[in-house]
């Protein structure tokens, strides 16, 4: 087993358990590489990668770009704000124009769910989905579960609660798929208005009481409230949300056990998580960021090795 079952990374739901294991084993090697004095390997020197972002991003874009450069790939960056998309060009035309400059791989973030899948059917390049609307964000889920594996020694059998805005979150959906695939137990927790209907059909538990959820879990993944995706109010005030679904030091200390705290960033300090928790030893937020580069190197390496 040394090859992915897919030619694109469009979502966790298209991966097998063996794919994830292969990505993790490869990421272990790359994590060792990026901790060397010289953090670069020449592997992808004949590969060109375009990072196409139709939506804002800091962490993901930097992380992808760094991963590509550490592998010695040539990188071009494209943000929708400064482009011909504003002049009315279609997605396929935009990407085909980029590909005719001999690009082998496209990393794309797009506000529309399924944009990556659409693109993979119409252009000739390996596609990595870096977030498509409220659908999937596969590399985030891979780095999240990789970080759980690193901290707790494995993912199978672990209890993970995803807290907050599940409705608008691609991180939540990809995490649910990735965790279930690796044999973890998953619950989602948040106000009813932010939990999608029929979420139970994905095989996850639902809990609206944060304290109960935290007492049950080994790991709590705290999501950001995505104000930019909310067209109307889902809860009365931020202050009320924070009191019911925010995590703070005194709440953590009142639990029966010590749990691991994760956050995909960017953090709204004082809303879903207080600073004393975010910066504590229980938090693996910065490990997630470091692992993000290794995971993305692994995904790019494995997909690139399938380009003929």
């Amino acid at each position: 087993m040394s090859e992915l079952s897919v030619n694109h990374l469009l979502g966790i739901k298209y991966l097998t358990e063996q794919d994830i294991e292969l990505i993790f084993e490869t990421a272990d090697h790359f994590k060792e590489v990026i901790n060397r004095a010289i953090k670069k390997v020449p592997t992808l020197r004949d590969i060109t990668i375009a990072n196409i972002f139709f939506e804002n991003s800091t962490r993901t874009k930097l992380s992808f770009e760094l991963a590509e450069k550490r592998l010695s790939a040539d990188v071009i960056n494209f943000s929708a704000g400064q482009s011909s998309v504003k002049k009315g060009e279609t997605l396929i035309d935009t990407v085909n124009n980029i590909l005719s400059m001999k690009v082998d791989m496209v990393v794309m973030r797009h506000p529309n769910p399924g944009a990556g899948i659409f693109l993979s059917r119409h252009v000739k390049a390996a596609i990595i989905n870096a977030g498509d609307g409220a659908h999937e964000h596969p590399t985030q889920a891979l780095l999240d579960t990789f970080s759980i594996r690193e901290r707790l020694g494995g993912v199978s059998g672990k209890k993970v609660v995803i807290v907050g805005d599940i409705l608008h979150s691609r991180v939540a959906l990809s995490n649910i798929f990735a965790l279930k695939l690796q044999g973890a137990e998953v619950k989602v927790c948040g106000p009813r208005t932010l939990l999608p209907k029929h979420i139970e059909s994905l095989g996850v538990g639902v809990e609206t009481d944060l304290r109960k959820a935290l007492n049950w879990c080994d790991v709590a993944n705290m999501l950001r409230i995505q104000n930019e995706r909310m067209e109307f109010s889902y809860f009365p005030t931020t202050r009320e949300y924070s009191q019911q679904y925010g995590i703070n030091r005194s709440l953590l200390e009142s639990l029966d056990k010590e749990i691991v705290i994760m956050h995909p960033g960017p953090i709204n300090r004082g809303v879903e998580i207080t600073s004393d928790v975010a910066d504590s030893d229980q938090s693996i937020i910065l490990d997630q960021v470091e692992n993000g580069v290794a995971i993305r190197m692994a995904v790019i390496y494995l997909l690139a090795s399938k380009i003929k």
């Binding site: 090697h29 390997v41 090795s305 380009i307």
Partner: protein, 189 residues
Amino acid sequence: MPKRHDGEFNMSQKVLLTAKEIDILLHRLACQLLERHLDFSDTVLIGIQPRGIYLANRLTKILSEEYQVKDIALGSLDITFFRDDFRRGEKILEASTTEIDFLVEGKRVVLIDDVLYTGRSIRAALTAIQSFGRPKEIELLTLIDRRFSRHLPIQPNYRGRQVDAINEEKVKVLWKENDGKDVIYLINT
């Protein structure tokens, strides 16, 4: 290609070196290293993954147990990401572990691999080792030197045995700790 079972091969093969002959070669190579590096205070041994590590471990064991050389710095180097045949072969390259928990800056490095063939692995290793610092010098030790098969101008400083094998032939080095016995085969594929 015929399937192989537990290190036994169905195709035509002959024994190139027996366990006893390998043992004599290992002792000679250990002595040659000793002659040049004396107390190994400035020297690091690097086994090249995946198959060079067995040879590196054996030499280190002989040096420490039979010649009382203390605290030999021994590491393993994976060259997968430095190879020049990425996406060119049928097989996807699978990485192994790199373990170098010391600095090679200013050190005398001895790269160790079981078979020297085209020289491309060693070319990759020469690049890969630079990620861990600038060594004072780099030498190459190899158990089997297939002397007429080189693609690059690379020669070993220490060699166990020179072999004249044609390209269709394969030299396979088996180790007791991994394959059940010490033996070197010349296989006609």
